[in-house]
């Protein structure tokens, strides 16, 4: 085991996979930094420091610093993947899917199906997502509900450094296109990470991070930690919560959720996307359809409101799900008669 930050887990996994497979290539804006400047290359190594040093190690053919051209970056990832490479493309902020969605959605995601299963598209699209930095409406969004709804994409949302390691390795070795969502507020979080260079976590397997018989709480990303805090607080009162970290939203581990709800009869889904046509709505509906008889209370979701992400600290705090809001929701499903 090694102790490292979430961002270090991203970087070291990419480096290990580049070492292992020469077809793995990295591309994105400022993934090298300093190209064409007096200061010279490697001025930054990605604005999240998730590609620092790769250029020196693997060279310009495999670590491609791109102009600000997201459509071309996503399209190039698709083209690289169709022609035998394994691109790991960085979209600096998840919000920028707005500029590049055609290449992700109409191209990358659909090739295999449209081509009758005759091709593979092993591209990983990494993107930093999430609020909490007062970066306002165009640099703070959660977009996984949009991407999860697109057939052909796999969507991965690690919440710990160890999960980054295991899930990113799986993503890079996977033959389908994978969206890999890194929560900005987690980049500095430290944790134990297995040293095994083949450590992989399969997609579609949720992780139970707290166990209890009274309520099922489902979450991902930054908010998972908030849910754990609520579970720990309630445990002291004798209330037991199952906390489920989805890890991947596509494929979705329905079984883990349904097994838990069969025991608890109560469900709270906590997610950072807006509430309409959302991940939370999707999971609540799935449970209502498949475990209605087990439910002792209507499923509840805790999400931001149906608004863009606001800028000011007070506004963003009010916008985001919080520990008190999650706790209130859990108490509400518990007190339902």
């Amino acid at each position: 085991m090694a102790r490292m930050m979430y961002r270090e887990a991203v970087l070291s996994t990419i480096a290990e996979e580049m070492e292992r497979d020469e077809n793995v290539v990295v591309l994105g804006e400022d993934v090298v930094g300093g190209m064409g400047t007096a200061g010279g290359p490697e001025a930054i190594g990605g604005i999240w420091s998730t590609s620092a040093g790769l250029f020196g190690k693997f060279g310009a053919d495999r670590v491609i610093d791109t102009p600000i051209s997201e459509s071309a970056i996503m399209g190039a990832a698709a083209g690289l993947a169709l022609t035998g490479k394994r691109p790991v493309a960085e979209l600096m902020f998840a919000d920028f899917i707005g500029v590049s969605l055609d290449q992700i959605w109409n191209q990358l995601a659909k090739f295999r199906y449209m081509f009758g299963g005759k091709t593979k598209c092993p591209a990983v699209i990494r993107m930093a997502w999430g609020a909490g930095y007062n970066a306002a409406a165009q640099h703070s969004q959660a977009v996984h509900h949009i991407l999860t709804g697109m057939p052909g994409l796999k969507v991965v949302m690690p919440s710990t450094p160890a999960d980054v390691k295991g899930l990113l390795r799986t993503a890079i070795r996977d033959d389908d296109p994978v969206i890999f969502l890194e929560h900005k507020a987690l980049y500095g979080v430290k944790g134990e990470v297995p040293d095994d260079k083949d450590f992989m976590i399969p997609f579609g397997h949720a992780r139970l991070t707290r166990a209890g018989n009274d309520v099922t709480i489902v979450s991902t990303g930054l908010l998972l930690g908030f849910c754990e805090a609520v579970a720990d607080k309630l445990a002291a009162e004798g209330i037991g919560c199952d906390v489920i970290d989805l890890r991947t939203t596509s494929p979705l581990d329905e079984e883990a959720i349904l097994d838990s709800v069969e025991v608890t009869g109560r469900l709270v889904v906590v997610d950072e996307t807006n509430p309409r046509c959302s991940l939370a709505g999707d999971i609540c509906a799935m449970v209502a359809e498949k475990a209605f008889a087990s439910l002792k209370a209507p499923p509840l979701s805790v999400t931001p409101p149906h608004t863009p992400v606001p800028f000011a600290r007070e506004l963003e705090t009010a916008y985001l799900p919080s520990i008190p809001k999650i706790e209130a929701a859990v108490r509400k499903v518990l007190s339902y008669r």
Binding site: G33, I68, S69, F96, N134, L315
Partner: protein, 324 residues
């Protein structure tokens, strides 16, 4: 053409307001009291002011993530902008937008923008509206050298030509897009204006660190685009960014002594002072008076921003729609 004493004083004051606004933010951001990402415009003041001094409120501009200078030059209220950046309820956008989204549509300022390359297409729309209205008004798209690599910018240039939009693409080439050099990222040539030319536009070039170069160039550009039927034009100004890409940028891409050198030789305020005092148009005393005045105005804006009411949780739900 010779500017009047009042015009000269006003132009200097506008540039100085931008400079001091940004220098003050640079200091205040270090205290941690100001939230979010902030991109300062210091070094490029002559472009915003040299362009906007020609415009009326009926002319529109569309800005970028580095938008404070464009907003101030287009007449956005200093207090309202400072309050917005401090995230207060009195801010121009009620604390909802912050540094990257300042807008004042009544003043013809159609928004800073967090998405690189998003502005040019919007300016085309405003330029088509100006053409339809037929009153000789124009729209301006400010874009960086990095934004000129975005497909949206290419599409906007071609569509402006096709539609004969009364639109001007102003490219501010400060040689960097974030941490990457212009020479690496722009593959065709050493210049952006020739790209615009290839789309079929008349183009101009100017020194973006010299107010007079920008102002005189823009007079020609505007004389051309304001003529009904002429359609769009583009202009590239070579300029400098005095701070990092964002506040907190380690700037490892700079060469040794680069910042000192550009502050010394490429400072539009220094150049302006030398030029007008050298020609005997204004005295150092005249300019010093403006300096003191501006410093006080910025100080007042900060005091008001700090004291302004904070937004509340209920405000989050406001302004998503007009009616719903």
């Amino acid at each position: 053409m010779q500017l009047s004493r009042d015009q000269l004083l006003r132009a200097y004051r506008q540039m100085k307001v931008i400079r001091e606004f940004e220098e003050r933010l640079h200091v205040d951001i270090q205290t941690g009291e100001i939230a979010g990402f902030t991109h300062l415009y210091c070094g490029q003041e002559a472009v915003a002011v040299g362009v906007c001094e020609h415009l009326s409120a009926d002319d529109k501009i569309v800005s970028t993530h580095r938008g404070h200078g464009h907003c101030l030059a287009k007449g956005c209220d200093v207090d309202g902008m400072m309050a917005e950046i401090w995230g207060s309820r009195d801010g121009l956008c009620k604390g909802k937008g912050g540094s990257m989204h300042i807008a004042d549509v009544d003043k013809g300022m159609l928004g800073a923008n967090g998405i690189v390359g998003a502005g040019a297409p919007i300016a085309v729309g405003a330029g088509i509206a100006a053409k339809i209205n037929g009153k000789g008004h124009v729209s301006i798209a400010f874009s960086g050298d990095g934004a000129c690599n975005q497909g949206t910018t290419f599409e906007a240039m071609n569509m402006a030509v096709v539609t004969k939009a009364a639109c001007i693409f102003v490219f501010e080439n400060n040689h960097y897009s974030e941490h990457t050099g212009f020479e690496y990222a722009v593959g065709t040539s050493k210049d952006i204006a020739s790209r615009a030319e290839a789309f079929g536009m008349k183009v101009w070039r100017g020194d973006g660190t010299d107010f007079f170069s920008v102002f005189e160039t823009m007079r020609e550009v505007l004389d051309y685009v304001r003529v009904p039927g002429n359609g769009p034009a583009a202009v590239e100004f070579d300029t400098e960014r005095f701070f990092g890409h964002f506040e907190g940028d380690p700037q490892r891409y700079r060469g040794p002594g680069e910042l000192d050198r550009i502050r010394e030789t490429r400072d539009c305020l220094k150049k302006f002072r030398a030029s007008v005092t050298g020609a005997g148009l204004l005295s150092d005393g005249d300019l010093d008076t403006v300096d003191a005045d501006v410093l006080q105005a910025i100080e007042d804006a900060v005091t008001k921003a700090k004291a302004a009411p904070r937004p509340t949780a209920e405000d989050v739900l406001e302004d998503v729609y007009i009616s719903y």
